[in-house]
Amino acid sequence: MIEAVGLTKRYGDRVAVDQLSFTVRPGQVTGFLGPNGAGKSTTMRMILGLDAPTSGRVTVNGRPFARLDNPMLAVGALLDAKAIHGGRSAYHHLLCLAQTNNLPRRRVDEVLDVVGLSTVARKRSKGFSLGMGQRLGIATALLGDPQILMFDEPVNGLDPEGILWIRNLMKSLAAEGRTVFVSSHLMSEMEHTADHLLVIGRGRLIADCTVKEFIEGNSVLATRVRTPDAPALAALVSAAGGTVTSEPDGSLLVTELPMRRVGDLAFDNGLRLHELAPLQASLEQAFMELTKDSVEYHGSLGAQ
């Protein structure tokens, strides 16, 4: 369980995290979603006490992270795969961390095995690929067999097989009753793994809901209509208060009028319909819609 209350971080004039309050619960994967620069990493760093909040507080199992008796048994985190001394082998990297919490040596071999790095465990980590570094970071997170796991953009640098592996790993960790908190700037990634979502933009909390609620609440529902009498139907829909847009393929997209009403209008006026289908905006679109005002760095060529 992670609880943040009014968490705020300022760097000079810039507010990186603004009055963030949320709870991350055990037994599910909580996605932490937001555009680049939204404050996800800063929030995670504050949870771990790496950065001190300007105001507000955040606790782990009811206590600040730095007050826990056995930090590694409580929280394991992958913040960035670069938190490694490249001159040290994967094995020794994990060993020196394990020793701080009196973890048994065999635990190091176990996590190396879990992430599939056993064969390169004695090699210096500076030669590791991005994906191997990411796996070593995940091994570090798993080392203390912690109740809470945090992953900051874990799929970065992983190949498709690795991505599938980390998704399944996160799901199985949550299924064991652990708290899994994972950040991403890619909605599609969350679609596959998360049960619950925290969405932030420019440091502020925009949404705190289940993935299902998020889609329902934020996807623009439209109805696609295909009819040989398009102009007639468009006029009828507009008159009834709907908004119609013509698609290049000749179909009509109707918004602001329930699909049922569109069908009724056509039936009442004797218009033939070839297609009447609900169109749900993808999670990606819903996310873009929700965060479009809070993206910090816009590309000059439309991300619209």
Partner: protein, 269 residues
């Protein structure tokens, strides 16, 4: 999979073991120390050997001077070379963690920052003490053997045992001095430049300061004061005794460590 249960609170002993693992598992530590021992003792022995070969070409005055102060060759030479390596290693104990990003892993494993820094200080101090003493006694016996044809020097002679032992202490304190520098500056290159600049340039330049004020500043500069401890005898106008000098150097180091601890605790990692 092992199920882990907390047997006891993660404490200082674990941090000590961890820091020792960190030191011994990067090649730079072992290589640097081996190089330090080989170069400092080896070079000194070579210089001493060359001097002995040409002994007869020195004037009786020069011969008398060398016979009176044999440690200027036997101890001062190796310490001068070793201090550069000790400074670099000391700086890197903390700065390398920041440069590589390892510090974030370290502080995730144990977020209590003062014990983390404390463990680094203790482990590095013990290592530097052991290495420093081994090195200075090795240098002494090697030098004594090489020069034995013309110069006799014994640990029992006045000030000699203190000087040889003191050289190891000097290197230990210097290591911690540099460690504190590294923790304050956090960038390896910057901190090394700072420490070496202070030891090799600033400390010597203070001799140019005018008047007794200048004399005091020069005498109280960290390494100027610290190096007195490996001098068998001091000029009569010396402002500090050998042990006072080491105390001044240790005081500077303690002050820097306090600043480093404060910053280590409060700064974002």
């Amino acid at each position: 999979m092992t199920t882990l249960t907390a047997t006891r609170r993660a404490g200082f002993d674990g941090l000590l073991r961890s820091e020792w693992t960190k030191l011994r598992t990067v090649r730079s530590t072992t290589w640097s120390l081996a190089a330090m021992a080989a170069v400092s003792v080896g070079l000194m022995s070579f210089i001493a050997w060359v001097i002995m070969r040409q002994w007869d070409q020195f004037s009786p005055d020069e011969q008398a001077m060398m016979a009176a102060e044999p440690l200027q060759i036997i101890i001062d030479q190796p310490v001068f070379i070793s201090q550069l390596i000790v400074a670099v290693l000391g700086v890197m104990v903390v700065s390398a963690e920041y440069t590589t990003g390892m510090i974030r892993s370290t502080l995730q494993a144990q977020p209590r920052r003062l014990p983390v820094l404390g463990a680094k200080v203790v482990v590095f101090a013990v290592l530097m003490f052991v290495v420093g003493e081994l090195l200075s006694f090795a240098a002494f016996f090697a030098g004594r053997w090489v020069m034995s044809d013309h110069i006799t020097v014994n640990l029992g002679d006045p000030g000699i045992a203190r000087s040889v032992f003191g050289a190891g202490l000097f290197l230990t304190v210097l290591g911690l001095f540099s460690l504190a520098f590294g923790a304050i500056i956090r960038h390896t290159a910057g901190a090394i430049t700072g420490v070496l600049g202070l030891i090799l340039i600033v400390s010597n330049l203070t001799v140019l300061l005018p008047g007794s004020w200048g004399d005091h500043v020069h005498a109280w500069m960290p390494t100027n004061a610290g190096q007195l401890v490996f001098k068998p005898s001091l000029p009569p106008d010396s402002l500090l005794t050998q042990w006072q000098g080491l105390a001044v150097f240790t005081g500077w180091t303690a002050l820097l460590l306090v600043v480093a601890a404060y910053l280590f605790r409060t700064r974002d990692a």
